[in-house]
Symmetry: C2
Subunit: 189 residues, 2 copies
DNA sequence: TTTTTTATATACCGAACGGTATATTATGGA
DNA sequence: TCCATAATATACCGTTCGGTATATAAAAAA
């Protein structure tokens, strides 16, 4: 039951990630999934509903993982390593989705797709920011904590982008490199 | 003479940056520019030709500025500051284009638009990499220099993204912050 | 002045777009 | 067994897509 629903989601993610959301028509999706248009519209209402389902399904995995593994009683270094590890493992296991999600994040602000992905990104951002707020909340204001979170996630995404381009392996060394780049820059090793 | 050509370029960049290349039809461009389709096709051949003209016109400015200001006889810190300054000034004076260019860079790899922007990005990348190669070329291999260049540009883009979202001012302090983040991380100030 | 080239408009093309009215087939409960 | 609902298909909707054949106006060259 509902196997068509899941199949449509999988097929659509593949096409979206490879060609872009706007470049893939509903007809092409249902052709690849070997169903017809009314089936897709029965499950998702419209094309945007299909996109929402894809985002919901895939982002939930990462968000739950991050929330479950972060431990605010431990050190900043510990939690940054945990975050880097979660992101990198997720990037490897959901590489198609990660590429697609990056694409949506950098899509134009008036595009409806941008706003949807922003919702999930702000959740992730809040989780990462909590780590900095616990560490620096008494000495630095919230704006600086937010900037740290944004910068750290930026460096993480930078590494994952390199991985997605085939230029880097997301191994233990890369996790350490990312955290060290953020904490100490390129000078100290 | 050719005022229609330039007008089409300006109008199209505005629409592309706000709604996305795929989401803006040729008809909408010519309507806004108050010309007709054959005029656009006379100057640019097709929609992709229009995109190429936009990229060429705008990237040339940044690339020439970078090449002109980098001085390989001076220190790494000096050149990184120069690069950050050029990027930030460019981001402020060409903010619409910068947003659009980021969007294209993160667009799906099979999309034709991605490949075009990659060409200009690799030129910029080469310029930045030359700074690291001059500094570390004897002690570090090319892969590490390339990674440094990629990371530094990533941090720069991170800052410009914050600016484009209205979350940060691209002032002198931001330039220093970006370079320090790259060189020394968040610890040393 | 005539001719050629440049620049623009009218009117149209087939294909693809997102979406739906309606019919049909399964399926599970009463 | 009957009926309601869930799930799928056929065939179609108006609109917009990128692109063009053709005509025309303006300007430059002959």
């Amino acid at each position: 039951m509902h196997e068509n629903r899941q199949n449509i989601i999988n097929i659509a993610l593949n096409l979206f990630a490879l060609k872009g959301y706007e470049s893939v028509g509903v007809q092409k999706i249902v052709d690849h999934a070997k169903v017809t248009k009314p089936t897709l519209y029965y499950y998702f209402g419209n094309k945007k509903g299909l996109l929402d389902a894809i985002l919901e399904e895939n982002f939930t995995v990462l968000i739950k993982d991050l929330k479950g593994k972060i431990n605010l009683d431990k050190s900043l270094e510990y939690n940054l390593a945990i975050i880097a590890h979660s992101f990198f493992e997720y990037g490897k296991s959901h590489s198609l989705f990660y590429r697609f999600q990056l694409n949506l994040f950098f899509s134009p602000p008036e595009n409806e797709t941008h706003k949807t992905v922003l919702h999930f990104n702000s959740i992730i951002f809040g989780v990462v920011e909590s780590v900095f707020h616990k560490e620096f909340g008494l000495t630095l204001n919230r704006r600086v904590c937010a900037k740290y979170a944004f910068t750290f996630i930026g460096i993480i995404n930078n590494y994952i982008s390199l991985y997605l381009s085939g230029l880097l392996a997301l191994d233990d060394q890369a996790e350490k490199d990312a955290v060290n780049q953020f904490l100490f820059g390129i000078i100290k090793k």
